[in-house]
Symmetry: C2
Amino acid sequence: MSTQKKQLIPAQNETARNEAAQGGTGEDTTQSLKSHSLAYIEGDGLRVPVTEIALEPSPSGEQNEPFRVYRTAGPGSDPVVGLAPFRAEWIAARGDTEPYSGRERNLLDDGRSAVRRGAASAEWKGAQPVPRRAVGGKTVTQMHYARQGVITPEMRFVALRENCDVELVRSEVAAGRAIIPNNINHPESEPMIIGKAFLVKINANIGNSAVTSSIAEEVDKLQWATQWGADTVMDLSTGDDIHTTREWLIRNSPVPIGTVPIYQALEKVNGEANALTWEIFRDTVIEQCEQGVDYMTIHAGVLLRYVPLTANRVTGIVSRGGSIMAGWCLAHHQENFLYTHFDELCEIFAKYDVAFSLGDGLRPGATADANDAAQFAELDTLAELTQRAWEYDVQVMVEGPGHVPFHLVRENVERQQELCKGAPFYTLGPLVTDIAPGYDHITSAIGATEIARYGTAMLCYVTPKEHLGLPNKDDVKTGVITYKIAAHAADLAKGHPGANERDDALSKARFEFRWRDQFALSLDPVTAEAFHDETLPAEPAKTAHFCSMCGPKFCSMRISQDIRNEYGSAEAQAALAEMAEGMREKSQEFLAAGGKVYLPELKLPETARQ
Amino acid sequence: MSTQKKQLIPAQNETARNEAAQGGTGEDTTQSLKSHSLAYIEGDGLRVPVTEIALEPSPSGEQNEPFRVYRTAGPGSDPVVGLAPFRAEWIAARGDTEPYSGRERNLLDDGRSAVRRGAASAEWKGAQPVPRRAVGGKTVTQMHYARQGVITPEMRFVALRENCDVELVRSEVAAGRAIIPNNINHPESEPMIIGKAFLVKINANIGNSAVTSSIAEEVDKLQWATQWGADTVMDLSTGDDIHTTREWLIRNSPVPIGTVPIYQALEKVNGEANALTWEIFRDTVIEQCEQGVDYMTIHAGVLLRYVPLTANRVTGIVSRGGSIMAGWCLAHHQENFLYTHFDELCEIFAKYDVAFSLGDGLRPGATADANDAAQFAELDTLAELTQRAWEYDVQVMVEGPGHVPFHLVRENVERQQELCKGAPFYTLGPLVTDIAPGYDHITSAIGATEIARYGTAMLCYVTPKEHLGLPNKDDVKTGVITYKIAAHAADLAKGHPGANERDDALSKARFEFRWRDQFALSLDPVTAEAFHDETLPAEPAKTAHFCSMCGPKFCSMRISQDIRNEYGSAEAQAALAEMAEGMREKSQEFLAAGGKVYLPELKLPETARQ
């Protein structure tokens, strides 16, 4: 009960903010969220949080069971305290890891301004977990356990969450076709799985830039993103306080956190890409492994010989990490150190269970550059690196584009799946046109639905601010909801078991004019209710058999219901139609024969009157 | 020049409204629209308006030609005056039509409140064109001319507008695969074509309901919708002043106007569907033909025997016209009078050149009901009616769904194209999931892109208010821009000639940090600029080599440009990469041989320094 209460507080805050953003009426629009509560699926000694939506009875009196939906928001946390490390005992119980002292706190990890002021702008004051790593040369990845035939609590948690057999979870992880990204140093995270046999997942990018944002804002964006459905969150901070921002985020995150470590490494060398070294990068990776980062984007596929392939592109290299490494390779006349030291990275990741997200540094940034030689050359190398990571039992997903015209989208996922032997694909959109800055959540959701339909396992959201500026909280919400649409549409298209149940429940509520249930079952109850109330805010409108779109006389659903009430079941209606057809034929015969008397008045059959 | 000035006034108003809606900074954000101006393509004695976008030179000094885009806004009009009837002389010159007195003004055409007050709430006071109709039994449709081998000025206008051969226009219209909807009584309209061989078009629905809206608001929505790119507009008014609202709209509309005449017919019988008769409907159709409606939705495929097929659906019948006719058929135990009188409708439409939009009254309103027996039975009948209309040389398009899961979308258009022998398909979305009320512009744009890719000719927009309320002006804009995205993405996917030029011009501007050009070339310059300026509003930011998304050090495009500046062309970069590769091999050989001296410092080749 207390947890449930905790969960409702942010929901109400969220409503107030939505009203402000959407020019709401100022009335209380929290009603539809009040029917949401935190519940648990229990089984196998585990409790998996879900969101339960209470429904009203149908007009017929039929009860509608509460509807349960997958929940990414976790139990909720006070940002300064963080979440409970509920996975800690599972990790310790395996007996293959040990606590150790870890790296020393280094102010430069937070950039030059932290060094200047002797602290980050808001130091983390909550509990600081002691870092753990594998004992000796052991491998502690979920892939390793899966390949040994071991079923971990993490796998069982995932199976309950996905409503599938745990053996499916184990076997897909063992085969490399799915990953469960959870660093042993992020025991607060609720296990989730990324793979094409499971629900399509979405990632939300947050993080500051040199130009804008603060730690508090980023924690707020994290909670906001997971409240609306982000399955993982990437902290892409490139400004001040990188280390400390990440600490706040990980300690408060119920979902896996991903990063791109080259960003922090570049900050450590004052933004001078040519000053980057493997040693600085390696130190940054270990720093992040100890903090609990669950997956890291590594641009190891940007090989020196591929860089010239981008020289005649319309928009060159558009991945930040990709452009940094390309510049480094040319400046040093050397191969990418992420590629040459890839085996060392595998050894490190195996000790903490960090998953690779193999970065597509040469992805197209314009539809004109899609599916070109540079992009596909890099993909060949990512396939090679996938195999190498698997030799270390390290989990891998592979990143994908970008900007791709609609008809070329499918080739991307099919090629990746074939070359990378089914390793999960994780794509940014793709955007199917370049001409709509300000609406790139939409241009990309179109491509995202197409690419997920053919097997992409996770979609990285794109917000309306893409290409224009750093997303604010409203943009984060819009991005998340838009990507929930794409992911869910793909689940439906794939015929994923049970995916249609929410659609059917909502459509039934809609047809029965259970407006509150229609709002509550939607991806964004606050917006649905606010839009409805803009023209019909009064309470009776919540049960009215119409809305302002068509008004009472033109509501097709009302008319359609009247037809059912008046003329009964399909059989009764069909009997009536047949009879009318028969009468018409008879009457035509009669008229053809020159008849002149009036036709008898038709009587409805009894069954049709029900 | 004066026309150009006229056009800029609404653009500035629009900017102010956008700022208010988007919480703008209050600064002048009209800059990017100032580079838009009205221009003309001239040829063949015709002038076709286009929007010309002036571009800045590239940093290299290279000039960028002004970019011309298809224009739906027309020359602009003062609402109380209306547009010039520029097609009137073309129509008169054909000598096959004549003016006549037409129906008498009947206050009931505007509903009971007009009868009560003796006038509509805002009578049309502008010029009232004398209605025309075909002389004697003549047919005056574009299809008729096309089949005779006659090339009309309308066809030549379309060919200039689409940048294609006029013979393609004529032959597609003759074959029924495209329509040019322009009633001889709407001489203000600029001819446009709907067919899969041409650019994908979009329609915006406007119109009041019994609950909300006024005539002035509807005229405003018309001008707003065409300003942002609506190719046709449907007036779906179901409230007061239906006749007069339509008069204001047609007299001010540069695009074809469509209607659903059953709505007005129903108003004439006080909303009592069972009181509808063929005679009342026929009178309403003639009233609208005389006013200048260009295409009408006719739900003639809702046959009595199909109604029972909807009885077990999740959401029954969701088309307003469909549900009205279904109820009528059952109540009267008679076949749909739109079906039984279809030939008479053809005769009427042939006299004014009104096009059929064959309504899909049994379209699915939930993904669970998609592609079912009711929907496809109706489609069979629509195919039969298409053939019958063609026998009268009457132009036809066929309406399509609705709510359809993504993997079932393609079947809809392929089946329609096969059964209806290529008659243009005109679909509402379809929405690929039911669970996102408030975001159905997005759920439907995903389906719209897919269905247009496979040959749908026109997409009916869906606004964020779908299922929730009557769209306001902001919703209209969001719906139009979202559907421009879907239509354009489909054009790109179809490889439509020249479709990629705008993408490439925008991407080039993006890569060259021509921010103003990036905004100006986008579908919504106002929003793009406002989003950018939210974090970097100052003037120097308009030429800066970064934005707030990544900040200066992490801008991949800047780094990518630096690489090109530093290391030269693809060839120069490749030479450098090869040399480095060679050095690496040599050095490995050397090390393998036990070598210990330092490698010589690499020198860049001269060409790479350019």
